[in-house]
Symmetry: C2
């Protein structure tokens, strides 16, 4: 067997479930052919040679990290209202003056794709420095046909410029735009559903998301949108049961959805439906932390039912100003009581599953893309334990060192 | 007036208390002579020229950040027990096997100054990338004369190698070493007090700290140590009232201490004593977060009494694995309800005050050291709002770009 590249003298956290924690292979090696992992195992068993051999001197190699839920493409700044809220002003007073998500929508509508991409790229640096290889980016601050498409194009542009894999998601049903106030159903029918059909054809988005909540879209409106997505051939996911139990997790599972996200208020019937459908529970502790929420997602129920759990940043300028996926993993342990291995699986293997990319990324296995993070650490748990430490030695994406 | 260097086209957050939030000067300039700030004000009023002029193109300049409470010099790794605790094992079971702080002590005692300095330097990178200019480092993992001195020497070495100002603190009274189990008073008298006298002479430490708590040293033992420190001419500070109210804040104030740190359980009498003595309250939300504590420090009482509040990381391998001072500031807002300006003052002006360095660093004022952080931001509040973002353009320390 001949490889293009071999990484050797490595400790591998393959994240393949099995006998060892983290799917660890000590004294391991990885053979790469083209963009793919061709072979993974103990270095002593390496079945061939390579044009290039990189000796990693005992460093740890993990799958490149996967952030499966972000809102990274937006314009404007909301640090002023962050400041005012902490100084004691009410959310209502700020919203009345056009603050909150509407401020981001206003700024995003005015921005072109290039400006949006530049802003997102500046934020993407933080992810790159933590070994992230794949990142989902949602639209949802445009709320018009034109502006939603511009956001999705910006997301695509960010992928080309950064070398990272960007997974764009249509989230037109994020909030009700001012021009449709009191007419959320009409917004779904007149803007969101036509957009679903359009992006399904153009390939600008790989999934459809919505915000099902008392302050956003009803289960009935969400269902109409999901029916359209299914008809158009796009998978669905949902901001579900974040602030109240609207049955969102159950609804998205009914459509065989990729993931139910937030899920603080999801109950046993929702968890059972997710388990049956294979829908991933995406935990977003950054929003829980920033909003000072108290209600914990049903971690124990999900564990017992075998619902896969992913962890993501929810990076956005309002409710989760967090651009560190490793910190999200730490918060998942500290705030949601995940084990360290569960949290790390949440930002690798299960993050990939939540994007429908289990066959492509998220573990170190032959046949998958050679997306790797190489670390200056002694144990994988250090990555989750320390906040603010970035012991990344380097990234290999698609078989090439970045 | 002739300067060595002028920074112009800058927005200045001087952090000088006054009429504008953050002591802001829009369209400002800074004149530097040698290591010092010689002039600060509106660029239009600049009273002279310079050999070198740096146009900052509208960027924000703040004082370089100050972290006034860390345990950055240590050896060994405790990610294994972090992992075991999250998997459900009890602290007691882990301590029984020699885990907890004793594990760090054992590893630190075996390490030489060079190894300790190398470890600390690897952690210091994270602070440098966030614009930190001054960082306090405590001993307290040696607990013998030799090993405590080795830790302090490593801290000095870290300062020389990093270009940052390191403020070393003797914390021999951190925990009771195994060889003195049940004889904490003897440890104070036989090890800690002689060390206080020795470092006061050699200048290896600039202050004396202790851990006054039911699981560590009693108020009476702490008092004996403080009397010795005062006699030797060293200022004191204290890990006070973290897990219970032992009257620690009141005690350290009685000695005119620099700061009372943690202070979750400090009551009104302690706050009053701090106000009278000018003792800074050092908030350590990273430990509060990591230990999942519930009891909040008396922020309202301190505000009302005019007690200055600093914010620090408490960076250590057990109870606060946090090496991001900006994240500490965010946590101070989210968890302790500080305003954004209070939190930012806590990692600049008040951090300096907690180190007794108010005359030297912590604000942008003529006469102070030219320790500056230059940022790619639109508003200072962004620095506190976002977790994981590091929009540092550069640092000037002692008048020189790093």
């Amino acid at each position: 067997m001949r490889f293009d590249r071999v990484l050797t003298d490595a400790r591998l956290a393959t994240m393949v479930p099995g006998e060892t924690p983290y799917g660890t292979i000590e004294a391991g090696a990885i053979g790469i052919s083209g963009e793919r992992i061709a072979w993974v195992g103990p270095a002593a068993d390496l079945p061939g040679e390579a044009d290039i051999t990189d000796n990693l001197e005992g460093r740890w190699v993990t799958p490149a990290l996967v952030d499966c839920h972000t809102h990274l493409v937006f314009a404007g700044d909301r640090s002023d209202e962050y400041e005012r809220k902490l100084a004691g002003e009410s959310y209502q007073a700020i919203a009345k003056e056009g603050g909150g998500i509407r401020k981001t929508v206003e700024a995003t509508r005015k921005a072109g794709a290039a400006e949006l991409a530049a802003g997102a790229l500046s934020r993407l640096d933080a992810f790159a420095s933590e070994g992230v290889g794949t990142i989902e980016i949602k639209s949802g601050y445009g709320l018009t046909r034109e502006s939603e498409l511009t956001q999705l194009k910006a997301a695509r542009g960010v992928g080309l410029a950064s070398g990272m894999r960007i997974v764009p998601t249509l989230l037109a049903a994020h909030t009700i735009p001012v021009e449709y106030e009191g007419r959320s159903g009409a917004y779904i029918d007149e803007v969101c559903i036509p957009l679903v059909r359009e992006v399904a054809k153009s390939g600008l988005a790989e999934a459809v998301d919505a915000y099902c909540e008392t302050i956003a879209f009803s289960p009935e409106e969400t269902r109409r949108l999901f029916i359209a997505a299914k008809a158009a051939g796009l998978p669905v996911k949902l901001h579900a049961d974040q602030l109240s139990d609207t049955g969102g997790a159950k609804l998205v599972a009914e459509f065989g959805g990729l993931s139910a996200d937030h899920i603080e208020y999801t109950r046993a019937d929702g968890v059972a439906a997710m388990a049956k459908a294979g829908t991933v529970g995406v935990l977003l502790p950054g929003a829980f932390y920033a909003l000072r929420e108290k209600r914990l997602p049903p971690i124990g129920l999900m564990r017992d039912a075998g619902v896969p759990m992913a962890v993501a940043t929810d990076a956005n300028p309002g409710t989760s100003p967090l651009v560190s996926l490793l910190t999200a993993a730490n918060m998942a342990c500290t705030l949601f009581h995940l084990t360290v291995e569960e949290a790390f699986a949440g930002i690798t293997r299960e993050g990939a599953r939540a994007l429908g990319l289990s066959g492509e990324i998220g573990t170190l296995e032959a046949g998958k893309r050679a997306d790797l993070a190489i670390w200056d650490i002694e144990r994988p748990a250090e990555l989750v334990q320390w906040i603010g430490r970035r012991p990344l030695h380097g990234r290999v994406l698609g078989g090439e060192w970045l």
